[in-house]
Every structure is written in C-alpha cells, then in structure tokens.
Subunit: 296 residues, 2 copies
Amino acid sequence: MSLRLGIDLGGTNVRVGLVDEKGTILEIIQEPTEAEKGHIHTINKMKQMIESLVKGNKVKGIGIGAPGPLDIKNGVILSPPNLPGWDEIPLVKIFEEHFEVEVFLNNDANVAGLAEANAGSGAGHESVYYMTVSTGIGGALIINKQLFNGANGYAGEIGNMIIEPDGYKHNNLNRGALEGLASGTSIGRRAYEEFGIEGGAKQVFHLAKQGNKEAQLIIDETVKFLAIGIANITHVVNPDLFVVGGGVMESKQFILTPLKDKVKEFVYPQLASSIKIVPTALGGQAGVIGAAMLVR
Amino acid sequence: MSLRLGIDLGGTNVRVGLVDEKGTILEIIQEPTEAEKGHIHTINKMKQMIESLVKGNKVKGIGIGAPGPLDIKNGVILSPPNLPGWDEIPLVKIFEEHFEVEVFLNNDANVAGLAEANAGSGAGHESVYYMTVSTGIGGALIINKQLFNGANGYAGEIGNMIIEPDGYKHNNLNRGALEGLASGTSIGRRAYEEFGIEGGAKQVFHLAKQGNKEAQLIIDETVKFLAIGIANITHVVNPDLFVVGGGVMESKQFILTPLKDKVKEFVYPQLASSIKIVPTALGGQAGVIGAAMLVR
C-alpha cells in the first residue's frame, strides 16, 4: 500500500489526512488555521499534524491544496485573500526540506476537482470539468486522471470567464465575469440591487421556496448565467462530464435541475441530450483526498 | 519512411497529398469537388486521385478533413451546408472497404489545427488552441500532438461560444455567439447595419486603410469580440499557445496586432504578458498535412 498525505489548507481550518493510492482516507485530523497568527505558526502546526499521522509509516509524498493565487510550478503561496499576510511563502520547499519527500501544491478548486474526477462523481470518465459555485466560482479540468493546469496554471479559472461584456465588475475580475454574476455573493448583490432583498443568497433561496417571484427571478438569472458558462466550456473542450458542487449548486430544486434544462438551449441541438451534469459526491473530504492525489 | 494520404475535401476543391510521417508533402494533386454532381461522382474522383498517388507505395492509412457537421467516431459525413446533398455518407467505411487501410475523418478546422500544432506555428508546444476566422469561425484543441475532440467531437466549436447573451443570432448558432459577431460575414453585416457600409468585410478593411472612422469602429468591435473569445478559452484551458489563421486574421495591422494588446485587458494582470498568439504558418497546405496526421 502506497500512502500519501493530503493537506487541505483553508482560511478557517486546516485538515491533514493519510490517504491510500485509491483515495481512501485512513485517518484525518483538523485544526483551526489561525492565519492571523502568521504563516510560521500555521506551518509549524501543519508539521506537527503531519508527524502525528505519519508515525512509522512510509509516505510517498505530500500534496497541499491551498487558496489562490499560487505559483504552482514553484510551489509558492503568493498573497491569497483568504490567508492574509501570507506573501510569497515557498511552502513546497519548506516541507520538502523538513520531511525529505516530494511535495506538491495546487489550488483548492483544482484539488477538489481532481478528487471528484478520480474518486467521486467523475470516476471512470476520460475528461471531467469540475465547477464549484459558492462565495466565489472556481473550476478544474481533469484529463486522463490528471489535472490539466494549462501553461500558467490558469486552466479552470472559469470565475473570470466573460459572460456579459458590459456587466458588473466584481473585485479584480473581468467586467461581466461569471463569478461577478452567478456566485453566492453575486446572487445576494443582484437581489439587493434589483429588488432590495437583504440577507444574501440564503435569503433569496428562502424567499423563492415561499413562492416569492422576485427571488425566483434572481434565481432564473443565475441559472442562465451558469448555463452559458457550461455551454461555453462545452464549445471549448466538450468534456465527458461536468461535476458541479459548492453551496449554490446544493440547491437541486432551484439550481441544479433547472440548470440541466437551461444548458440545452445554449448548445447545438444534436448535442443537447449529451451534456452530462452531476453533483459532487465527496463533500468536505474532497480537499484532503485531492491533495493526496497530487502526489505522483 | 511511413507514408500517409491526406485528403482536404472542400466545397470547391478536393486536394489529395502523399505525406510523410513528419508532415512533409511529397506529392499533391487537386481537382474541383463538383459537389453538385452528387457524392458518388466526387467519391469516385477521390478514389482515382488516391490511386494515382499511391502507385506501388505502401500507405499506412488515409486521413480526411471535411466540412462539418460530421460523426467523427463513426466516420460519417452528416449534412454539411458546403456539400449540398451529402446526407449521412459513411465515407470512412467506403474508403476502408475499397483500399483496405485504416481511414480517419475529422472536420476541416480540427485538421488544419492539428497540422499547425505539429508542423506549423505550434510545433514544440504541449497544448495549442487553433482559431480560424474567415467566413465562419472554427477552432481546435491539440494536446500532446493529438486532437482533443472531446466527448462528442465538439471541442473547438468556438464559433458557438456566447460572447453577448442578447446579441445577434446568426444561422443555427447561439444568440451573441462569437461567429455571429466577429466572422468575416459578421463584420460585413455590422458595417452595413451600423453605418450602411456595403461590400462586406473586404470593403471595411479597405475603408479603414483610408482612415475611415466608421470602418475602424467596426474593426475595433471585432477585435474586442475576438479578444473576449481568447480570454475565455484561456480561463477554461490556458493553452501554451494560440495559433490564429483565416482571412480576417491575415490583417496584421487591423486585427492580429491590436488583438494581442486587447486580450491583455481581459485576463488576470499576472497573466497578461504570458498569452502567446501567433499566426498560422502552413497556409492552404494545412488541410492535406493535418488530414494525413489523423492517421495513427
């Protein structure tokens, strides 16, 4: 049995798992990240977590999923908004020197997508496009069980795909980018701007359940934007399967089911019945499993 | 030396070449397609052309590039607008039974992209996105020297990518699809609709050269649409290189040069200097060379 360590480094919690070659978690531990105490504090904590899991086991390598932006090739955490104060931290080098095994780093969406493609809903498919829609929107392309990072590690950065050239400008993204239109944050924003609905995406779904037509309109728009995103990805790479997750996608009734129908309107008729969209299967464990799968 | 036959079946002419394993054309012949005389006439003509090239040579296989829509997997020409009357023609089966070698079929844009990626401007790159902008807009994704057709053969169908959800509806494409906004045909349409300029794309470029501001505005719009298309492809697959061709792209001054600048506005700042866009290198020979490269 070939063991790997998978680390899911989030803004709130860090989780470390001992994972076998099939992606099964043998043991997993979690601690608060405490990013505000500085990167050295968190890195030392991760080292202790790793040591407590490794014990006498021989480990093939360590994989880390972290919030972007990252320099994947050189294994450096740049300046993630979710890890304030972590500027240009060479995490791969730090761990490689300490543990003397190979260490791999990739962004959280890519890592979750890798897990879903190989051990979750995408298992058995040649090409999988993963899409996560929650506070933000991220994605990943997995071909033949491997992440396709692209030339600069930006494959899967679908949150920045332009859907409406003159649309809303969100943070440092393009005007009319998918994330600025269809993320949880954007659902809340549009609901407030268009109809004065307060309370964010959660309240929009709550009102829609009660039959509120304005909330339903916001949801219809969201479904349309997501459908255009999926249709555009289809006409660029035509993956075997879309695996969709994240808080917004969890609403089968209001998002996932109408989305499957809506996508058909935006692809060639002969393709309409062939687009496969399925929900994620691994839940919160995808991060640790996918991180371990970075180890080759 | 391993020889292949490459067939470039177009609406006007059919060209057949004897090509070596490196993609060098050893001999090439051309005849008018005469599609109006029916598919049997043209198929018989192609058989004769093949026989005149093969002579005593041993040929590894035959590759065919044809206008879509096609059923790539089953080697069937469906009902291409450019080959009127060719409905569900099983071209691969017909040639395999006649010549007793393996025969491969793919669409003309994919085939040209394959040639450019392996023997043209893309040579030496791991992932290449090919884009052709002329009467229509087509594309192809080539990864590790192989066409990435996608689940249903629709990878590279970037003409149908939605750029403006409420934009113009062209033929059977999506409302606001790239081809309906930025193809040669669409340049002519917009010039006429917006400013009454007659004479199509050619006249638009002619007027722009003379300093006509309205024509320049149409060109600026075109460049913007194409830049959004390239940025979207980047955020989906982030290819190593874009190879761009077709009549519209041939204008370095008005299209290619401003396009390279415009793309920078639509990608993350840290990515702006990394997007590589180069013109095609093989010209009209890409069809025959790429068709031969379909042979594995």
